[in-house]
Amino acid sequence: MSTINYSEKIPNNVNLADDRALQRALEQWQPNFLSWWGDMGPDGSHGFDVYLRTAVSVEPGGWAHFDYVKMPDYRWGIFLSPGDAQRKIHFGEHKGEAAWQEVPGEHRANLRRIIVTQGDTEPASVEQQRHLGLTAPSMYDLRNLFQVNVEEGRHLWAMVYLLHRYFGRDGREEAEALLERRSGDDDNPRILGAFNERTPDWLAFFMFTYFTDRDGKFQLSALAESGFDPLARTTKFMLTEEAHHMFVGESGVSRIVQRTAQVMNELNTDDVAELRAAGVIDLPTIQRYLNFHYSVTIDLFGADHSSNAATFYNSGLKGRYEETKRDDDHRLTGQTYKLLDVEGGKLVERDVPMLNAMNEVLRDDYIADSVAGVNRWNKVLDKAGIGVRLTVPHKAFNRQIGTFAGVRVAPDGRVVSEAEWTANASAWLATPEDRAYVASLMGRVVEPGKFANWIAPPPMGINRQPIEFEYVRFN
């Protein structure tokens, strides 16, 4: 059993004490991390006692240990899923060879890039969300926000461990840089676009955790297949934590939809002005938020045609989602995949070598998973007897990366003129007015068991606690 050693400064299950140089390096990074948390972590929260989940072991029984913790005292540490000494690389040209326990020289640059890119998203989202605590719709939601934040912090630790342990001086410099970039900063922004967008309100937060943290799930799942075993084991454990973030998003939007549907029924109206007067978020606004977050997030999977993605797969660095559960040769040479392209003002499909389409393969898996959750929101509407349906827009809609960058495509997949786009953009994407309205709803509700008017209570509390449990003590 991999018990986590909590007697050390940095909790870990990687025998950190046996590697003095590494331990010292990480102990030097630790105060910088805490200082970053102090500056950029949740605003005004440092003295709160928060009912948080902390991993005490990476076994199923051990990683969901709940207790009150002050967030700056959270035991961020280094936890890897249990190893398998027999593990083999199971895709790409090295298929069947033993998984790597050290970084192979020829893949060093690529692996470092993958790890830095993943690592950069973790502190970025904490920065994006740092003011949300001031407008929480309930104590329950406030606690969930903080849980997401501390676990993003731990995910940063997970990536920094890999950088320090396996990438020498370059790795240490990258680890410092992860604390220096800032989300939305003009001079030193975070690496990926979606992580420089603002998360100004709780609808945006729930959409972000639903869509963008789901990108995290798919990226981590692909890395959990990696032939570089420490990366696979690290990301595997991160996935168990990531699930909570998607839960926050999915249930958050679901509860907003539920509340809106309830008021629509009470007032017997779908009139936006009436619903806004009643203080709930109308479904068209929810749809426009959805369109925005969905399209920004699917850009995160990268260009649809990518030789880097082919290299990552073929060399065993990054697999597909559920690689081991797939029935094919796990090499994919000679196979093709259908990509969308624009030809004569229309979207057309063309076959490309599958290896070059690996980003698109992962994006399509992500889309299927996202759509399934949106359909669960629709079930809430269905149950309330409301005929409106939320949908994800076409995958070519509002894209900034890949073939569709600069092409205007409507949510239904029609290529449209610049004029038509301009005329309709405010119906398709959340407008400043939408955001101002949602912002106007964001008052702080933190009395145990009370919820803001625009969101329904959850069906059950955290860790079997009642909904009115005191999840945060403000002291």
Partner: protein, 446 residues
């Protein structure tokens, strides 16, 4: 899933109720709430025995695989995982049905086993008054799981706390074979050669593998099934006491019967039993577990053990007996009474060592059902012959009853216990209820 037998009827009751005598098996069915679940795959990833699967719409639990180990419950981020329904096994929701759900079906106030609850109350009224059968009314108190179980769902109060699921499919442990002995006599009658029974000792080296008597472990046989899937784990009861087959060593023993025929008597080689019986000293095996948190022995020194077993069902009895034997000098004064059945003397595992145990330590009663020239004799026949002594034990609040062996014996043993109790002025329905609730009646049949 180890199914729990409840509310089965005696023949007499079947006649009264004019219903077929087919046993009713009850399942505490594990379900996932599709309205709360976010399909994050954490449960499927966590499950040590691959009991959870999904389609495009739902995550579901296979009723025939889940063993209720709870490994998936804490990791679930939503709480959707923690739903349980008492079901008759025949009416358990299949995964195909679960795939179609938008929400959990409404829970019936008396559980989902109408027949079973009716039977349970029928049993009470029949046994208590020998008369009228009244179905449970809808407004009676909430359904009680223990009432449906034939045995305890709690351990004895003085049992040691077990460790469970330390090793899983995803992270199993390797053990080394340090002994593999054939227990049964090779000179058995040639006409119907019995399947040999082996005593296999596994050593865990420096890896922790703490166990208690009555627990079991899972063995992952190597190789794959015809359709290329990994073999599922096979469960074996531990035959050695907590401090090792050899005291002070990190080892344990198993009692394994080489399976050569299926239930219909057709030739069929058991995948795991043949693998285990063929192991050589020094070979390694992949192990998961330990499992089991109720079929455990009491630890207070004046507790009595009434043990009834057949064939390889002897394993946990051997473990408990051996533990008591080692503890004997340090003041364990409780009685041990054993009823042990096999087809012939030659097929009785541990026959030799067993007959050498002092009579004042354990009261051993053997029953052979296929001894040439003699009438068939089963464990329940031996129990009836010793009715006065069995009744004496049943009267004592420190007595704990253990039954392990083939499924068919369970009914007969309970019936014998009932007859013995009734004949000695003990009210069986009330006694049975107390034994169950106090963790003093443990049934493990397969």
């Amino acid at each position: 899933m180890r199914s729990l037998h409840v509310g089965e009827r005696t023949e007499a009751e079947s006649v009264i109720m004019n219903m077929p005598a087919a046993p009713l098996e009850v399942l505490r069915q594990h379900l996932i709430d599709p309205e709360i679940c976010i399909r994050c795959n954490t449960c499927e990833e966590t499950c040590p025995i691959d009991a959870i699967t999904h389609d495009a719409s739902n995550y579901v639990v296979k009723p025939d695989v889940c063993n209720g180990c709870m490994a998936c419950v804490a990791p679930c981020p939503t709480g959707a995982i923690d739903n349980w329904r008492m079901m008759s096994k025949a009416q358990a929701y299949s995964i195909d049905v679960q795939f179609t759900w938008d929400e959990l079906p409404p829970e019936k106030p008396n559980g989902d086993i109408e027949d079973a609850s009716r039977l349970a109350s029928a049993q009470d009224s029949v046994s208590a008054q020998g008369a009228h059968i009244a179905p449970r009314a809808a407004d009676e108190p909430a359904f009680d799981p223990q009432a449906l179980m034939r045995g305890s769902i709690v351990p004895p109060w003085s049992a040691a706390r077990p460790y469970v699921n330390l090793y899983t499919h995803q992270a199993p442990v390797t053990a080394t074979v340090v002994g593999n002995y054939r227990l049964t006599d090779e000179s058995a009658p040639r006409a119907a050669p019995p399947a040999p029974i082996h005593h296999i000792v596994l050593d865990f080296g420096s890896m922790p593998f703490p166990v208690l008597e009555g627990q079991s472990i899972g063995i992952l046989p190597p190789g794959t099934t015809h359709d290329g899937k990994r073999h599922h784990a096979r469960q074996y009861s531990i035959a050695s006491p907590r401090n090792g087959e050899r005291p002070g060593y990190n080892n344990l023993s198993l009692t394994v019967k080489r399976v050569t025929h299926d239930h219909e008597g057709n030739a069929a080689a058991g995948v795991c039993s043949n693998y285990l019986c063929d192991l050589k000293k020094g070979d390694t095996v992949t192990v998961i577990g330990p499992f089991g948190s109720t079929f455990l022995m009491p630890n207070h020194p004046n507790s009595h053990l009434l043990m009834i077993c057949t064939g390889t069902g002897a394993a946990p009895m051997r473990a408990m007996t051996e533990y008591r034997r080692r503890r004997r000098l340090s003041g364990a004064t409780g009685k041990l009474m054993l009823f042990f059945g096999a087809r012939t003397k030659e097929e009785l595992p541990y026959f030799g060592p067993l007959t050498k145990l002092p009579k004042d330590f354990i009261d051993t009663n053997l029953a052979f059902s296929r001894t040439p020239g003699q009438a068939k004799r089963y464990v329940q026949d031996a129990m009836r012959e010793r009715a006065a002594d069995v009744a004496q034990l049943l009267k004592d609040d420190h007595t704990h009853v253990y039954v392990c062996g083939l499924r068919g014996m369970e009914e007969g043993v309970l019936q014998a216990l009932q007859e013995i109790a009734d004949a000695h002025g003990l009210r069986w329905p009330a006694l049975w209820e107390r034994l169950k609730r106090e963790g003093r009646l443990h049934l493990e049949t397969y």
